[in-house]
């Protein structure tokens, strides 16, 4: 029987008093490749953050491999790729330093990095095609390359489950294809993947399950919606009162404005 990676029951989240998740039930089993979709402000990012315990629930429960986030101890099983346009920090860090930090959940305090750590980092850099940039400052890279660094950081930890918040947003077509290739390898290795996406693009064939979030609730959960021209794209049929607001954002195109 396969393990359950995430199990949220009646999950509610309020940010600054505004309800963002209004009772979400979501269970992700090992080996699933789940795309979480929805309009801007629908709560899909909050949903994955709440699944990880990064955003506290105001109601309901969520379990990570059977434990509440506060009592979860096997964080090395999770690889998180945050939504990020630029790599933070006021001090430069090399690509290798950032990617190596993905191993931190696997290392005990004071235990030095070993051969296996270095090899995992080298494999992760290789997978995203940044081996030759390992010594460069991560901040000096382009947006797409920085996204690759963040993906490599998750890969370096060799987790069982990947959680990616908009890994395809704002990256070039080459990086999208590379991401698709990388995910295909992870899928064939039986890894669990939960990703937030505005548009699936080249990731489409890999997705086994589509979850559409609308106004803090799950509006669709099942096979990924088939793309049949722009109007059948996920989210389009779920145009809601906030759509006008959302369309003002930088990601307007996909919403299929009339």
């Amino acid at each position: 029987m396969s393990e359950t990676a995430f199990a949220m029951t009646g999950g509610r989240v309020a940010l600054d008093g505004r309800p963002v998740l209004a009772g979400v039930d979501l269970t992700v089993r090992e080996g699933e490749v789940v795309a979480i979709m929805g309009a801007n402000g629908s709560g899909k990012s909050t949903l994955v953050r709440a699944l990880l315990g990064l955003t506290p629930l105001s109601g309901g429960t969520t379990l990570l491999y059977g434990s509440p986030p506060a009592r979860f101890r096997h964080w090395w099983r999770i690889g998180y790729v945050p939504q990020r346009l630029a790599i933070g920090g006021g001090v430069p860090a090399t690509v290798r330093e950032v990617v190596t930090s993905g191993r931190v959940a696997r290392r005990r305090r004071l235990s030095p990095y070993r051969q296996e750590d270095r090899e995992a980092v080298a494999r992760a850099l290789e997978a995203v095609g940044l081996s030759d940039r390992a010594g460069d400052s991560a901040q000096a890279l382009s947006g797409g390359q920085q996204q690759r660094v963040l993906i490599a950081r998750a890969l370096a930890g060799e987790p069982d489950t990947y959680v990616m918040d908009e890994p395809t947003a704002g990256v070039d077509a080459g990086t999208q294809r590379l991401l698709a290739d990388t995910l295909a390898r992870l899928v064939s290795a039986g890894k669990t993947i939960v990703l937030v996406a505005h548009e699936l693009g080249p990731l489409e064939p890999l997705i086994t399950r589509g979850v559409v979030v609308r106004e803090g609730r799950i509006a669709h959960d099942g096979p990924p919606p088939e793309p049949e021209g722009d109007c059948a794209r996920p989210g389009h049929e779920h145009v809601h009162p906030h759509a006008a607001e959302a369309a003002a954002g930088p990601l307007r195109g996909w919403q299929g404005e009339p």
């Binding site: 990064l54 096997h74 964080w75 998180y80 945050p82 006021g90 001090v91 305090r109 010594g135 000096a140």
Partner: protein, 293 residues
């Protein structure tokens, strides 16, 4: 000229040791603080620590010890405001800073034997008056600070780089945040005698800013910053022997700033060379990818 005959004098040897320890510790902690985009944290703690110093005079306790206690309390308060992330945070911090300075001046005025001269020695440093007892305290704190950086450095790097990632890696984020704040407070107290509370933060920030003009990685930035820190603090101290009219604290900070300006020019040169180099390697890389396809 620099008066090397002073090297035989005990007060000067003590001053040198203090300068060395501060030059090492302040940039090491400063690297994490700058990475966390809290460059002014040291200034805030410095202001609050003044109240601690005055409290020492008022109660007849060693000012360094009361400064440690109050600086840690202030650092924790600042961390609390930061972690809450409220928009009014910067106002809350400002209030804390003013309260720290005003409280210090007030308590110092009330304290028996408190004087403006004493206040000045803490505001702007009085490295020449460092005693053997001071050196033990400073040395102990320095060991603590460098110990924290060594033991927790890897986790602190993740925390200061990306707090969310630290959380998703199961790191004890609250504990580490408090650790950064407390370590910064200890550093402020160490540096207080050397450059003074108003300039403490300079030694935490300027060497790091200097170093990152020339480096690409975190570890090299920190190590180079520590080198710059020692050069500035020891160099400034030596420069101050030229005349009794040269205050050591200010000499140290100005030397550090001069180093920054120099590195700014050198760094531009280095980066130009690098960007040409990486353009070439990028082109080579894209050729290679095409070949693979």
């Amino acid at each position: 000229m620099i008066d090397l005959s002073l090297l035989d004098k005990q007060f000067f040897q003590l001053a040198l040791i203090a300068a060395l320890l501060v030059g090492l510790c302040a940039p090491a902690v400063g690297t994490f603080i700058v990475q966390r985009r809290l460059a002014l944290l040291g200034d805030g703690i410095g202001h609050v620590a003044l109240t601690g110093v005055a409290l020492g005079f008022l109660t007849g306790t060693a000012p360094v010890l009361t400064a440690v206690v109050v600086a840690i309390a202030g650092a924790l308060a600042i961390e609390l405001v930061r972690a809450r992330g409220r928009t009014s945070g910067d106002v809350a911090l400002a209030l804390l800073f003013y309260g720290g300075i005003a409280g210090g001046v007030m308590l110092m005025g009330i304290a028996p034997g408190g004087s403006n001269a004493k206040l000045n020695s803490y505001l702007f440093g009085a490295i020449a008056s460092v005693t053997t007892e001071d050196i033990w305290v400073i040395g102990g704190l320095a060991v603590l600070v460098l110990g924290v950086v060594t033991v927790f450095g890897r986790e602190l790097f993740v925390l200061c780089q990306d707090e969310e990632m630290a959380r998703a890696s199961g790191l004890p984020v609250r504990f580490l945040s408090v650790l950064v704040a407390v370590t910064a407070a200890l550093t402020v107290v160490i540096a207080m005698r050397v450059v003074g509370l108003l300039l403490v933060s300079a030694l935490m920030v300027i060497p790091v800013a200097t170093s990152q003009q020339l480096t690409r990685g975190f570890r090299t930035t920190m190590l180079l910053a520590m080198v710059f820190g020692v050069v500035a603090s020891v160099g400034g101290l030596l420069a101050s022997t030229a005349s009794t009219r040269v205050p050591p604290g200010a000499a140290i900070v100005l030397l550090a700033l001069a180093g920054f300006v120099l590195a700014l020019g050198v760094g531009r040169f280095v980066r130009q060379g690098r960007s040409q180099e990486s353009n070439v390697s990028q082109q080579a890389g894209s050729v290679r990818v095409k070949e693979v396809r």
